[in-house]
Homo-oligomer: 357 residues x 2
């Protein structure tokens, strides 16, 4: 049966990196006899320019209908002065929420070929392979009430709400434990249970879920300590599972430990493994349109799509292998370049992965 | 006039590191002809054991009355199974809140003598000198409502509230700008204005305050990006000013960049520069009572006290110099030990600082 994929190039470097990823997807489809139909849609600034909103209803309808979504990146200075309610990132948040994409998988993996790129000492990060499982549709990102009000004394006050329901915690905890079973069977749940009511419920429910995974080792860590441990001894972690805001912060911190955020893909899954796939990095408007961007994170996002949504493990593995091969060949975009390697552009890198496939 | 200082040794290594810091304080008082009266009080586990609560009313009354507080550290496994409402850290939070200690100063400073200790590459961190200014009495730490409830469908839900008033933001922003004037005149305000209502007000008010500091350069950064930049290029920062929870996470991350959290003091100030001073590290119950703990962070907290509450700059400088001198002499406690240095215990280190003074 033909599977449908919505491709949303987005803003900045989004279009050029997505183009390379689509080339790789098509090559993989041919090689492994997979049948995909690709449709295009706008998100973020591109959607604002075309439809006046960061996510048009027609695009959302399309997003609901397809089996998976490939996203480039959204945002840029052009739209930064807009009202927050219609900024590019609102489109992304709405898509996550409307599609119920609660399970955000963000690997922080150090490629041996790029060990030099990290700002950390080699012995601290060599072999680093962490999976951050971030809750993506709950917590303070979407909690209500949230407002700005004027107090009796005339001053402004603004507030947000951080709510978590048992069922929301349970389903993301399960993702964490399931992922750990495919890896090193260790889950570290990160919270701030010494301060937050929501974190105390988080910890309770994670402990309940853990009973169904006696083969997985569970630990709990406060978020401030987790931020320290990620700097001091990041290799102690296998899977980290945490709530939306803590996951936002820690996953960015963890991906930067590798020194090559241009290499890191991500997946956002619903309860049926329908997913949105995108690079962990941003839209890098400063280098957009110059054939300088690294397309590998987006290409690896295609690999994650084949693995998690389409269950095509051989095709997913083949793409990862192809990426590893081009690194072995010494090809590097500017962001991961080092002495003695061959500097290439976005297109050349994409072509090389297609060839290696 | 005689100034009164409340000394709260707390738990774990608290008593032994506080003892050394008091020795240094007494030596400084003698040398610079300062007159202090020291009184003792319990906080945290020590207070639970003696009074049944982590902060007794009598101790709080004493804390209100004195000019400054020197704190060791609180918490430990002995009290970890207690109800969250009476755990050691509740005493600390109550003290911060009741005394209005809204301005938390947490320096992340790399001592040239200890450059090796960092898990980051020397070129990334050498010369690192960041001051994190964290709002300490507002936001999600104290916001109400906060509760755990049962929903109609029978499941549990818990929630917290993150509120900020204009006046709370204004006063901490001023601390940030004032501190920047004493340093490199750069403030980076960290928020999540693309998601949170409270962060949008935060950014607005910080921009308003900035108008009174035309000589200070202001930038804004999202918290996830800040966590990345602290790993990738921490030396770009001078002063970081941020809200309570983000400050908790980022200040711990930043202090760990130095590799020697055992060296870092902190101050928590009210609007009259009355303050509570404590090391940035925790109570380390695993090494408590063994003369292994590093007393230098607590000793440097005394220096901060002399600087910020008592305006005794010469005495404050002298203590910092004495600490630098003992490092130059090659003295190291276990946490900062490296080949070729002389390993010493808590007491010996304290004695050495007293002698250097
Ligand atoms: C753009 C922003 C709203 C988003 C988030 O905070 O979730 C981004 O930082 C991310 O991590 O995908
Ligand atoms: C003990 C805990 C409540 C406290 C906090 O979160 O503020 C600590 O982590 C700190 O930073 O002083």
């Amino acid at each position: 049966m033909k599977k449908k994929i919505l491709v949303m190039p987005g803003d900045g470097i989004g279009p050029e990196i997505t183009r390379e990823a689509v080339k790789v997807l098509e090559q993989a489809a041919q090689k492994f006899s997979l049948d995909f139909e690709l449709v295009d849609g706008e998100l973020g600034g591109a959607a604002i320019d075309k439809h006046g909103v960061p996510l048009a209803d027609t695009t959302l309808a399309l997003a609901r209908e397809v089996d998976a979504i490939l996203l480039g990146a959204v945002g840029g200075p052009k739209w930064d002065t807009l009202d927050p309610a219609i900024r590019p990132e609102r489109g992304l948040l709405k898509l996550r929420s409307e599609l119920g994409l609660f399970g955000n998988l963000r690997p922080a993996l150090l490629y041996p070929q790029l060990a030099e790129a990290s700002s950390l000492k080699p012995e601290v990060v060599s072999g680093l392979d962490i999976l951050i499982v971030r809750e993506l549709t709950g917590g303070i990102y979407f909690g209500t009430p949230r407002d700005t009000v004027i107090l009796d004394n005339g001053e402004r006050m603004a507030y947000d709400t951080l709510p978590y329901k048992e069922s929301e915690i349970r389903r993301i905890a399960k993702v964490g434990f399931d992922m750990a079973r495919l890896r090193n069977k260790k889950v570290c749940s990160v919270d701030k249970a010494n301060v937050l009511a929501s974190s105390r419920l988080w910890r309770e429910v994670v402990n309940e879920v853990a009973k169904d995974y006696p083969d997985v080792e569970l630990s709990h860590m406060y978020v401030d300590n987790a931020a320290m441990q990620l700097v001091m001894a990041p290799k102690q972690f296998d899977v980290i599972v945490t709530e939306n805001m803590f996951g936002d912060i820690l996953s960015d911190q963890a991906s930067m430990l590798t020194g090559s955020i241009g290499m890191l893909p991500s997946a956002s899954l619903d309860s049926n493994n329908k997913g949105m796939y995108e690079p962990s990095h941003g839209s890098a408007p400063d280098i957009a349109g110059q054939n300088l961007a690294n397309p590998l994170a987006t290409i690896l996002s295609v690999s994650m799509m084949l693995r998690y949504t389409f269950n095509q493990l051989a095709a997913a593995d083949a793409i990862e292998q192809a990426v590893s091969d081009v690194l072995d060949q010494g090809l590097r975009t500017g962001d991961i370049f080092s002495e003695g390697m061959r500097k290439v552009g976005t297109v050349e890198m994409g072509d090389a992965v297609v060839a290696a496939l």
